[in-house]
Symmetry: C2
Subunit: 145 residues, 2 copies
DNA sequence: CGTCCTCCGTCAACCTGGTTGACCGGCGGG
DNA sequence: CCCGCCGGTCAACCAGGTTGACGGAGGACG
């Protein structure tokens, strides 16, 4: 949908924020990272690493979808898969040194974008926006189903 | 991206509204319509019809993308392509009788969802939400590029 | 009246960001 | 010790677009 005006604004808003984050990542030296990769960087346990399935659960996507992201990041040297000593089935996705640097930049990029938006709107309106959105997704999601 | 919290909320909010509209369309007897089809129904001139390129422009998508939507709706009998008498290159996408009924329902479905959201938040917060979003997409879009 | 650039609609190929289904091989409770 | 469950993986598929190329009609201009 595009046309609800409200719905369109939400989608556009997301697009705008996402592309700002993408640019911020480029500028910080990680041009090859897509916004989707943040689902890994922002959900992984920085020290110990995290299982694929757990990452998928945290990011609210299928494990297959998460696997694609992890494959990609592994290829590029941001994470490694190491066997989980506690469970022969499992592997732990662990940040490499480069991955840790990148995760830090990713967090900074995200928070830079958010605080840019906050400055633009002002604290009060920013909080109102956030609260209204939370209410909208919470109630509507539950109500429809 | 999922993780900006704000960005995620925007995306989720859109998803929620879109699926509400989709359900509303189903309930009104058009289960085969996808939210994307609204880009046609909400942008087409109801009486005279509208050229494909113009539809694409209004919906802010490529004409090829719009063509897929129109193809789909034509197959299902909601629109017809008729040659434009004023321009031999062009065709006018025109609603069929069924298409006109559907367009009306689509508008109602969309506005039902919006006013549901409005009731949920209250007029004042709804307007604040909309205004904040507009500011966000306007300023951020321009500023980044 | 011919030439040439522009614009319309179309076909084809491709991309992003996922999804579901099937499966293998370890885990572990009965 | 066996059988069901769970972690990771492969494969196929989907939605909702995108860009590129192109044929044919329009129309300005010489």
């Amino acid at each position: 949908m595009q046309e609800t005006a409200l719905a369109r604004l939400l989608l556009e808003g997301h697009r705008v924020l996402a592309s700002e984050v993408g640019e911020a990542l480029s500028e910080r030296g990680f041009p090859e990272l897509r916004p989707g990769h943040l689902a890994v960087f922002l959900n992984i346990d920085r020290r110990s690493g995290t299982r694929l399935t757990e990452l998928a659960r945290r990011a609210r996507m299928s494990k297959q979808g998460m696997m694609i992201l992890v494959d990609d990041l592994e290829e590029r040297g941001y994470v490694r898969r190491v066997p989980d000593p506690e469970d022969g089935r499992a592997k732990v996705v662990r940040l490499t040194a480069r991955g840790r640097r990148c995760a830090a930049e990713a967090r900074r990029a995200v928070s830079a974008v958010e605080s840019r938006a906050r400055r633009q709107l002002g604290d009060r309106r920013f909080e109102l926006l956030r609260e209204a959105l939370e209410e909208l997704v919470a109630a509507e999601g539950g109500e429809v189903a």
